[in-house]
Point group: C2
Chain length 333, copies 2
DNA sequence: CTGTTAGCGCGTTCAG
DNA sequence: CTGAACGCGCTAACAG
């Protein structure tokens, strides 16, 4: 690796001058600048980001920590993150925890050591202990799609309770009264919130909440499949089902098809997220849409406002718009 | 941030001793070690990865550069990469180029400056120029699912030509003779190879190659959709279609459904990759399966063999097994 | 406008 | 077994 010193020697100037040239500082003679630049190019010199980082206390890297890279929701968020990170000339380290909290903590530790300048995270769990670990880091943290137990972090999310409300309202208007829940793990905040949204909406319509209609599983395809299986075994099975996310909804669809039932003729179904696949599948999935790319982009924007040292005293909470996208998996009873 | 010096002062020892303790070196008194360790924990000291990196010339980070994070194929590969990176206590910087070559080059430059220790890449393009840029880096590079123009890099891939052969053979055995191609961009090597596989297999069965049955589009849902649209407009449309990857196949399915045709009754279809959706959708997609997770894991393993300085003289080429997974989108004519 | 000097935080000699 | 001194490659003062 050629260093700044090599360049300086070859150019017959001091390292300081080379440093000034490559950092585009003023106060360097135009001719000299051009000359040095030429040498830099000739030698293929690229400044060592590590050494520079040690000096400037900046690494130009942030990180995105997510629970499930196989759920297309997160890649879409990641694209949003990258798009604004690009503007700032930052790279992003993507960490996928596969929902194991222990891995998440290990990542956070390593990231801290690597001196990333900020973290955007959708926690794999939401206990106070985990939040404390994040709080102890001395770098900005933005939470995505997650309720904060400690009021320390900026948050970007949609209103899950209202979102689920839209879904249940739609079922109600279509005449459904026996509505099941294919719920996600209530140990993560979106799981809990969507559960609450279900309960509240059902109650609001004066429908009795029935335990047997409520299931809970992992936030993935198999989780949805298993939950739906249970619902289908009921003597009096639901005519409509809300699933806590699209992947679970797709799992539920698989379960329903397996028993020979038709969608939406026999059972209506609504998901949450509006991943790309929802409009690629047949029948196309009715779902509560949340702005994934924007969520990543806005979170990153908020992160950089802190990374760049702007003093923003209070944690901010940004609620993004959601909407019900009615497609082909819902039908009047 | 507390530094090694702070710890040393508090413990009343030299920084060298603290360094030895945290790096688990021998030759330090057991009692002293325990004492220092306690101080380290009390103060919550974490060594600065940047400073350490400057000294040791190692950053403990590698990178994975992919063209399309929205194609579930790549997240699966990424999981494989992460799984072995974890073992080595490395983190991985994920760069998504959205298939723009220019972005890829920018990433590679930044990564080089950040002194990542190795790169796993599925190039967004495959020109000699791009390969040269990679070759000039002085770090190990492993190519995934990509032919190498320059014989400089380790490669992990499946035999695309044989893979497509499996698909065409299956069509042939089912009685199909009019077989269309929903092809991916031939500017990337997997696109070109799968095209060649199609041509060769068709010819091998003594079927005349017809230009009108061959289309080419972007390697995504819309690409497949557009290609299929063109095929459907033909006076004499194909009875079977091979798509260059599953996402394109799903796009083709959308196009077919839009015209009211049935799958597989009216048209049979086979994809490539075997992404998770392929078995979640209805009808379930027949496809050529390649081992995604393993591909990432093996590539990373090969990368680390070079990162850790083992002298492996010749570039290696690892061909992984593929197989045809027959599901519900193919049928006897 | 340019060069000299001094660290950033750490790991590594080399003495002791 | 332990400590003092040096330097990794770079940028930030401070002189000139």
């Amino acid at each position: 690796m050629t260093t700044i010193k090599d360049v300086a020697e070859k150019a017959g100037v001091s390292v300081a001058t080379v440093s000034r040239v490559i950092n585009n500082e003023k106060y360097v003679n135009e001719d000299l600048r051009r000359y040095v630049l030429k040498i830099v190019n000739d030698m293929g010199y690229q400044p060592d980001g590590i050494a520079r980082g040690l000096r400037t206390k900046s690494t130009n890297v942030i990180s995105l920590v997510i629970p499930d890279i196989n759920n297309p929701f997160y890649p879409e968020v990641a694209r949003g993150v990258q798009s604004v990170a690009d503007e700032y000339e930052y790279v992003v380290i993507l960490c996928n925890t596969d929902r194991v909290v222990q891995r998440e903590q290990k990542f956070v530790n390593i990231l801290n050591q690597q001196r990333v300048e900020g973290i955007i995270i959708n926690p794999s769990g939401s206990t106070r202990r985990e939040m404390n670990i994040l709080a102890r880091l001395n770098i900005p943290v933005v939470l995505i799609s997650s309720q904060n137990i400690l009021p320390n972090f900026d948050i970007v999310m949609v209103d899950n309770i209202q979102g689920v409300g839209l879904a249940i309202d739609h079922f109600y208007e279509l005449g459904h009264r026996r509505i099941g829940l294919v719920g996600g793990s209530r140990e993560v905040s979106s799981g809990e919130q969507r559960y609450q949204g279900y309960i509240q909406s059902i109650a609001r319509h004066g429908i009795p909440v029935e335990e047997e209609l409520i299931t809970e599983g992992k936030f993935d395809h198999n989780g949805g499949y298993e939950c739906m299986k249970r619902l289908l075994k009921l003597k009096n099975r639901p005519t409509a089902v809300f699933a806590a996310n699209d992947i679970m909804a797709i799992g539920a669809v698989s379960a329903i098809y397996e028993t020979g039932l038709k969608i939406p003729d026999d059972i209506s179904i609504i998901g949450f997220d509006d991943i790309a696949y929802s409009r690629m599948m047949y029948p196309k999935l009715t779902t509560v849409s949340q702005p994934k790319f924007e969520m990543g982009a806005i979170a990153t924007q908020m992160l950089f406002e802190r990374v760049t040292g702007q003093e923003i005293p209070n944690p901010r909470r940004k609620i993004l718009d959601h909407s019900l996208v009615i497609r082909d998996t819902t039908q009047r009873i």
